[in-house]
Symmetry: C2
């Protein structure tokens, strides 16, 4: 009852937009955070001894070439090699000097480096040419020529992906969309936005904020990522629980096919039942069958009231109960239900020195956010919910943010996890979908496995520091992370294929929201059967018979 | 202020599920309502002189064969003709007597008639064989054999479609899914339902009601239509404004391809980024590339509180303002925003003799429904909204339902329109998507056009009675209807291609939610360009090279 009273006492009307401190919430290509995955490339990394507190990124030369990390990949000899004549053609085509970065005929290695490598500094290609079209017609002309000449290409948006999908592997030409950055229209009655693919997500969202709407997608990279890339990778993020996936929200796509055909499916209609919904193939198609040049998307009204609560629970069973109760009682205003295990919160506490939000320690924590149109109503609903879960002992303790600063602060306990995990040098990261009922069992099983093998411990003799789980509980999206002092073959062999087999056994997905790119290409068989793969390859062959679009990746 | 006071005075807490009287809300295959469209087939109808009050449907012999209505269609001679041997094969395959209706070797004309014709009694095929598989494997075996033997087929769900998509044109074998009617699983934590394609929508929704969830789709035919058919036709309906489209809500599909391949894409994951989202092609594919045998779908929590308000407005401009205000103020609880023009309400009044809900008459009426988890909060939001729109003169008058009966009653003014329009004999019906700003202009333009041509009037010498517009304003989905005393070539020539050209000029869709079937096949060029059609045909050819799936329809 004391804790219940605490909830009541601290309850205040909150009516501010959530803005988490930029250092944790956002990342940019030149971020200080080091990520790693368990793919073969991981071992190529030199652990960052100072973790996330280290100085800026190492100089470009330290990024290993993707072709060295994946020696089994060979350049496809069907593709033409770039010549002066090709470059000249593109220069004439695009007119402007700034639209072509030519690494073939002049030394543009500095300029070209950021297009060749990803923000994690994990993948590095060897392109000699970057093209920056300014119109859909430009993209069409480029692709038509590339297809005829058999020049392979990589479409590139904000280059913020996590699986190496947006940088070349060999000498593929980079087609960067950054100059296609116009908002084409917004209808305030229907809430439908039409914009170029190269518009930065945050720019689109800020534009919509002025019109009292929001982009129905939010993610950490919003300051750099582009909406075309978001659609091409079917980004998930923070608002999916509330607003659903891009497959539902994207109403239209304009895309250029490999042969230069412009597919104008840029409908601004909420309902349109006239034939196969082909645009859906481009949502999550990762640029392998065409380049998205424009999108139309339905945008909801911006909520005026935001509330955030953070609480501790004694077991994963209680977490599930709390989730069901939140769905019951918060229903239409629930906008986030995030899970953090006790170990992940302990790590945030250790690395940042920040005090825990709660007094005691618990094996599980949840963060709940509500967004609605009436602050008083939302507070009342949230208070009723909290009283209920406290009184029924589902939740052991909790706090409710009283103001904007507290909201930001609570979010850092969720959003700071990823950065803090890197503190010891590296992280093996898995982005998985699993049935909610078994979601956390995987974390326990992996921890037991690593503990039994003697690779997890408190001093430097152990490669692994800890195994933690957190994620978007509302979407059944688990981030399984293993913080390590160094990348270690033994740890990798314990993790794989164990994790993938576990996911397969429980009908999960090996990539919930990050996509396949090059990192997951080899593992798709754990989530898709032979028939599905055959059908997917059919589609690829249909649209891109020469295979020039983003080769060596995806399926 | 008087009207504002009226709103306040009548405001009561409402906490009941909406259930509109079955005679108006639901239809069944043997409904008494007569519909018609402007396609060539429409002229084949004998007007029902007594309109919707007439006795049951005329005997089957009065339904014109689709092949006569569309004389330009010829049976594809590549298809095999059904033989005794084929029938024997299917009897052995399916085992049970009841699984095969054999019209070839025995007189099953009565039994087979309901599978050959649609509920509108507008389309009639000539099949001699109906198969009722009980498992996905059955469907696979059937299709594999049909594909090898080049026997054309029509997948059939509840046969409640409006465009003739679910009945044969010639002698295609009907594959009816009614025996595949099991709910496979429901996860109360995630809200994900997995069920056979043949489960009736209302059965699924009732099942979910017990679990405090709802199916994220609702439509008039729910008592007869099947969820597989809903997905195959990408049904829209009443809940789309709130819960979004099936492209977002359907998480997985199990389908059988024409060659018998079972495509197992029955994911129960909210997020799964592992390759092209092929299942999307089957959503709205109208059974032309495979047969959906199972679906998995995310179902929201059922709202406990329902409120309905009905009001009159002086202009379409005010309607748009009211819609924007409703989105602003009702935001997360708005579950319907329906538009009815004054003429449509006058017709309901004339045909049913029901008193208008409001005292004065207005050129436009709107019906708003809210659904939320807290009745007090919802009522307060709705009251604030209504006070605002009344005080700012956006809305001229309005009523708010005080109880379940009143909620039902208000809905009949919207849902009764379709039936009442048939009162004089026939209706030319168009299901269109248009930008909201111009949506009602089309109704005015069509009315002017028909009036100028002298075909609309109050006595029997005029073929047309009136031109009305109503629909799902929240989805920009207009139902343009022309009530007629008789189907008339002159009226048809005034309507077409005028309506389609108008829609095309405003980037609308000629089929918002009803699909293409046979009725709209010829008109798809008004909503899709040559490139899109070519790409769609590629997909059809890829999946169904022999063209056996639902031929003569779609694109």
């Amino acid at each position: 009852m004391a804790t219940s009273a605490r909830f009541c006492a601290s309850l205040r009307r909150i009516s501010v937009p959530r803005q988490v401190s930029p250092s944790l919430q956002r990342f940019r290509p030149a971020t200080r955070v080091r990520w790693a995955t368990t793919s073969a490339s991981a071992e190529g990394h030199t652990p960052n001894e100072k973790g996330s507190e280290a100085s800026g990124p190492p100089p470009p030369k330290t990024i290993k070439l993707t072709s060295e990390t994946y020696p089994e990949l060979q350049r496809n000899s069907n593709f033409a090699k770039l010549t002066q004549e090709h470059v000249k053609h593109f220069q004439e085509l695009l007119g402007s000097e700034s639209a072509v970065i030519d690494g073939l005929s002049r030394d543009a290695s500095e300029d070209i480096e950021s297009f060749n490598s990803d923000w994690m500094r994990k993948y590095r290609g060897q392109t000699k040419l970057v093209l920056k079209p300014q119109s859909t017609q430009d993209v069409s002309s480029i692709l038509k020529y590339c297809n005829e000449q058999k020049l392979a290409v990589v479409p590139q948006g904000g280059n913020t992906g996590l699986v190496g999908g947006s940088v070349p592997v060999f000498d593929e030409i980079v087609i960067n969309l950054q100059r296609m950055n116009k908002i084409r229209s917004f209808d305030e009655v229907s809430g439908i936005l039409v914009a170029d693919a190269g518009v930065i997500l945050e720019v689109a969202d800020n534009y919509l904020a002025e019109k009292k709407h929001i982009f129905p997608l939010d993610l950490g990279a919003k300051g750099s990522c582009q909406i075309g890339g978001n659609v091409a990778t079917n980004a998930g993020g923070l608002r999916l629980l509330r607003y659903g996936s891009l497959h539902g929200n994207v109403l239209g796509i304009e895309a250029v096919l490999p042969d230069g055909t412009i597919m104008n499916d840029l409908s601004t209609l909420r309902k349109n039942n006239t034939g196969y919904d082909l645009k859906q193939l481009f949502i999550g198609g990762e640029g392998t069958i065409g380049i998205i040049t424009g999108i139309s998307i339905i945008c909801p009204r911006r909520s005026e009231a935001i509330n955030v609560a953070y609480f501790g629970l004694e077991s994963y069973e209680q977490v599930q109960k709390a989730f069901i109760e939140a769905k019951n009682q918060l229903s239409e205003i629930l906008s986030a239900f995030e899970l953090m295990d006790g170990r992940s919160q302990k790590i945030v506490n250790t690395v940042t020195g920040k005090k825990f939000p709660l007094e005691g320690e618990y094996p599980f924590y949840c963060l709940i956010e509500t967004s609605g149109s009436n602050a008083d109503h939302d507070s009342e609903k949230l208070q009723n919910f909290l009283e209920h879960v406290i009184e029924s002992s589902v939740v052991s303790d909790g706090v409710l943010a009283e103001n904007k600063t507290q909201i930001q602060d609570l979010w850092t306990y969720r959003e700071g996890i990823s950065e803090c995990l890197g503190h010891w040098g590296g992280v093996y990261k898995y982005d998985l979908s699993l049935p909610i009922s078994v979601l956390y069992d995987l974390v326990n099983d992996v921890r037991d496995r690593l503990t039994e093998a003697g690779v997890v411990g408190n001093d430097d003799s152990f490669p692994a520091v800890d195994v933690v789980g957190y994620g978007h509980m509302g979407d059944a999206n688990l981030h399984l992370n293993v913080a390590v002092r160094r990348y270690d073959k033994k740890v990798e062999k314990l993790l794989e294929p164990f994790v993938y087999e576990w996911v397969q056994r429980h009908n999960g997905s090996i990539s919930a929201e990050h996509g396949l790119g090059i990192a997951k290409k080899a593992y798709i068989g754990y989530s898709r059967d032979e028939t599905m793969l055959k059908l997917m390859k059919q589609v690829k062959d249909l649209y891109d018979p020469n295979g020039i679009m983003n080769p060596y990746k995806y399926i």
